[in-house]
Symmetry: C2
Subunit: 553 residues, 2 copies
């Protein structure tokens, strides 16, 4: 079998203007970045009359066995195009930093990829670099304000805005800054997160347009004053310059699938401390151009789909029509207690045991009023009996499960899935978010914990509850919550696979993302700056004799 | 008078492919970045037969009055095109960070600009972001190597590779990193420089091609072992991944002048701790396409031109044909002791007093075997008597001085200058660097100090001399030196204007840039991470109601 990068390279890409033509995008709206990438200027796009149907691809709880959510998204979009539905896909941009650690790209796999994969996985059109610049400009302006007299009375002990780099660099997690004497400012503790964890990233992905972007940037709370009042980016007069730095980044990026279908790849917020899906602007642009839009949320449905529904769809007033839950036999077996080394051995009982995970995700998606279908991303080692068992589990929960082979066969391998998706999506959407805006913040956390994670309850120290209360008093009580917990379990214990019950969800810390428009509830240890492994992938990455990149994936 | 940005916006830009056509660049070699920018792939360019003539634009010692070196470079290139010489200009890319501090753009001014100026001054084609990523990947790999066992026995007290950001941020000049416990590595002191100060920037600008780039990256010395052996980027296996990150950045960027002439804007190393001129690749590409190539060096001729000759031309085997020394009446008056507030009052005696600065720069340029002409960048307040005095000073030193009005009149205002440049350049080049490769490092420093700065001698503590000796023993003795001193004076005292004599040049510190291929001699305080001023320009930068950027310049 060819590697993903070999398949990607063997493909003959179409000029990006041809892809734009196919999508009905006028030449005026296309700003080329090289031959196979472009940014779209929305003011030049046709005003949409009927909006396309929005299909969310989500998954069971992730395991090291891999599920293939991006791959399935691409395969499904190609399949929908094959069966005559004009379809675009909207995906997240991959983060540069982890490419040099252990993680491969995030552009699908096999014959279900978006291309050019090297470009997309590296600098792409510079969006993440622009976010890094905007984020760090604000950071510099905070310390600069304090240095020159601190007219806003910023409490330097309560600066909550860190810096970011798109790099895996554990050495920057915790630093002491402004050392070296008075010319360098007032020493304080600080640190760096990876760029995808920046609130600026979340803002870019939730903004309606450039105007809304600037307004959201202005609302970012960067610090508190000595009398505990929130200090915003607008008070520092940083919002305008940040918006200028992001003026190109906010335009969605057009690329193509291996089958030559249009794909928008735009924005990539973390799926733990942020909402984990591509930009609202890309999704809306696609909905204005296509009959069907396939999009993807991060991690499993407990995290990614819940945030897609409760944060993105709520804020952007999007009405998804159906959900696809990606599962693999291998991942269900891991959820059923099989070790990674033993996954190639048939074990129907393990599939059955692990099936409780799939069942719960199906039930959860239904709570949002959405019809669902299970996509079984087939691996060569899957047996007929195992596949039959997955189909039975889904059926028992009122849901079709379709065996898909898009990794090996491209869109053709997902046509069965596409047909079911169309059936489901033809019915009017009954979508609604899980909770109302006007219940207290902690009740929102508790609603997700009990209804999605199936915990007994959420818990929090009095100091956390007091913080939530202060934010409610300051006018942030209407915001949705963004849960940051392990992606490996419904609980906060990454080892509790399957469908745990009887647990509680302890909220360790809460953070306000006033610009993005949510309150982050941190449950357990969440890493916002990854490190490199003992042997980083970077050591094997180089430009080969043929001029092609080696070792990237 | 219209502002630079108003003039820039009022211009009708030609599509970048039209500019490429004019320059004789085939469509295959053009990778568009939007409509008015492109990267050039050199393998698709025609193989040059005769190389064009290379014209260096340099200047007298800079003052707050401004000289207009970039403006004169653009005006001269437009003028050469007007008088029938096929001419390209090769300039540095501006740094993003300082745009938000006090500095305006670096794309010329008035009717002598390269455009689109907002793009060029902001993210442009992402080159500086790529350099930031490559630099910081190496930094992360150093700490990661130590964290996972330190097989190379890196002495963490002797890590000389800092991190970079393209931002003015004094808080990052000196930091303590890797705090927070064992998972974050071994705490040590460190800090950030601005991206233009990165050795990766200097390397990108001196590399012949991608292969040479990777080899140079591999030679970077990042630290010393406990037994004082240099540890290189190659030993850390970082060179390949860094080259991959820079594979797009190394391609020169094509833009246009306001008069529609082709301009390559590529690379922008600091002119103090680095050599301060655009990439060798851009200069060579232009020389292969045009009859004349106008390029520019940083600061005054004592720093910028000397490094252009002794570092860039030496390494790349370039033979410049003539030098243009930009002077203004105002700057000469400041060199003659007039305060900035009084510069609009006629003062011929002050011009005469300050003229010693111009005279010495003329003499210095001649030491490299190059014919020179003085370009007087005319300001509205200059009087006839003052201009006559400048012409007389130049004449007394065997050099024409031409009054230029390209700021107000575009290329037409520099036609007189262009004609003299052609006359000078028609003679065969007698160019030679100032010193030979094989003299000791300190003798090289002393040669520049005595022959260019006209000091009595250079001095250094025994520890500095011992360090130079160790590098000579380690095989770095053949490298040229890169002098880092104040740009405001021939001496190391920024207040000593004019043409000081009798001074000495104390070398405070030396740094090895083994990848770039020079040894930096730091004389006096050199700031490698600027700060923001009390009221940063960022506060006034925003996207206006018309959708155009306000406050950037």
């Amino acid at each position: 079998m060819l590697s993903d990068i070999d398949i990607s390279r063997a493909a003959t890409l179409q000029p990006i203007q041809a892809i734009a033509d196919k999508a009905g995008i006028p030449a005026d709206a296309v700003e080329p970045y090289g031959r196979f990438k472009a940014k779209l200027t929305r003011e030049h796009l046709p005003v949409p009359r009927d909006l396309g149907k929005l299909i969310l691809v989500t998954a069971i709880s992730p395991t090291p066995a891999g599920e293939g959510k991006s791959t399935t998204s691409v395969g499904l979009a190609d399949a929908l195009n094959r069966i005559g539905k004009k379809t675009m896909i909207a995906l997240r941009e991959p983060s540069l930093g982890p490419c040099f650690g252990t993680k491969g790209g995030a552009t699908g796999g096999g014959y279900a990829q978006v291309v050019p994969m090297e470009d997309i996985n590296l600098h792409f059109t510079g969006d993440f670099h622009a976010i890094t610049s905007a984020h760090n400009l604000l950071a510099a302006m905070i310390d600069n304000h304090v240095h020159w007299g601190n007219a806003l009375d910023i409490d330097v002990r309560r600066v909550v805005w860190r810096r970011v780099l798109d790099m895996n660099d554990r050495a920057l997690r915790d630093i002491a800054q402004s050392l070296g004497g008075p010319a360098n400012g007032f020493p304080r503790e600080s640190g760096f997160d990876i760029t995808v964890a920046s609130e600026v990233m979340a803002i870019l992905c939730l903004a309606d347009d450039l105007e809304d972007l600037e307004a959201r940037l202005g609302r970012i709370v960067v610090a508190y004053s000595r009398d505990r009042k929130p200090i915003t980016a607008k008070a520092l007069k940083a919002d305008g310059a940040m918006a200028v730095l992001l003026a190109e980044a906010i335009k969605p990026n057009l690329v193509q699938t291996l089958e030559g279908n249009p794909a928008l790849v735009h924005g990539g917020p973390f799926a733990n401390i942020a909402h984990g899906c591509n930009s609202v602007i890309a999704t809306r642009t696609a909905l204005g151009l296509a009959d069907y839009v396939v999009t993807e949320a991060g991690f499993g449905a407990d995290l990614g789909a819940e945030k897609f529904f409760d944060i993105k769809c709520r804020q952007a007033d999007l009405k998804p029509s159906a959900a696809v839950i990606v599962a693999t036999v291998r991942a269900l077996k891991m959820n059923g207690g099989v070790a990674k080394a033993d996954l190639s051995t048939e074990d129907v009982e393990a599939v059955k045991r692990g099936g409780v995970n799939l069942a719960r995700h199906i039930e959860n998606v239904r709570q949002f009023g959405l019809p669902a279908v299970v996509a079984i991303n087939r691996f060569p080692t899957d047996t007929g009996a195992e596949l039959t068992e997955v189909i039975a589990i889904a059926k028992a929960h009122g849901c079709d499960a379709i065996v898909c082979t898009h990794h090996a066969d491209g869109g053709k391998g997902a046509e069965g899935l596409a047909k079911v998706v169309v059936e489901l999506a033809e019915a009017p959407s009954q979508f609604a978010p899980l909770y109302d805006d006007d219940i207290p913040l902690f009740d929102k956390i508790n609603t997700v914990a009990t209804r999605i994670y199936r915990a007994e309850h959420a818990t929090a120290e009095p100091s956390v509850l007091a913080q939530l209360k202060r934010w409610e008093d300051a006018g942030y009580g209407h915001l949705p919550v963004c849960m940051a917990k392990t992606q490996y379990s419904f609980s906060t214990d990454p080892a509790a696979l399957g469908a745990p019950t009887g647990h509680s969800v302890p909220v360790r810390e809460v953070r306000l993302a006033a610009g993005a428009g949510f309150v982050v509830a941190i449950c357990g240890e969440i890493m916002t700056m990854p490190g490199l492994p003992r042997v980083p992938a970077a050591e094997g990455i180089r430009i080969g004799a043929s001029g092609e990149i080696e070792g990237l994936f």
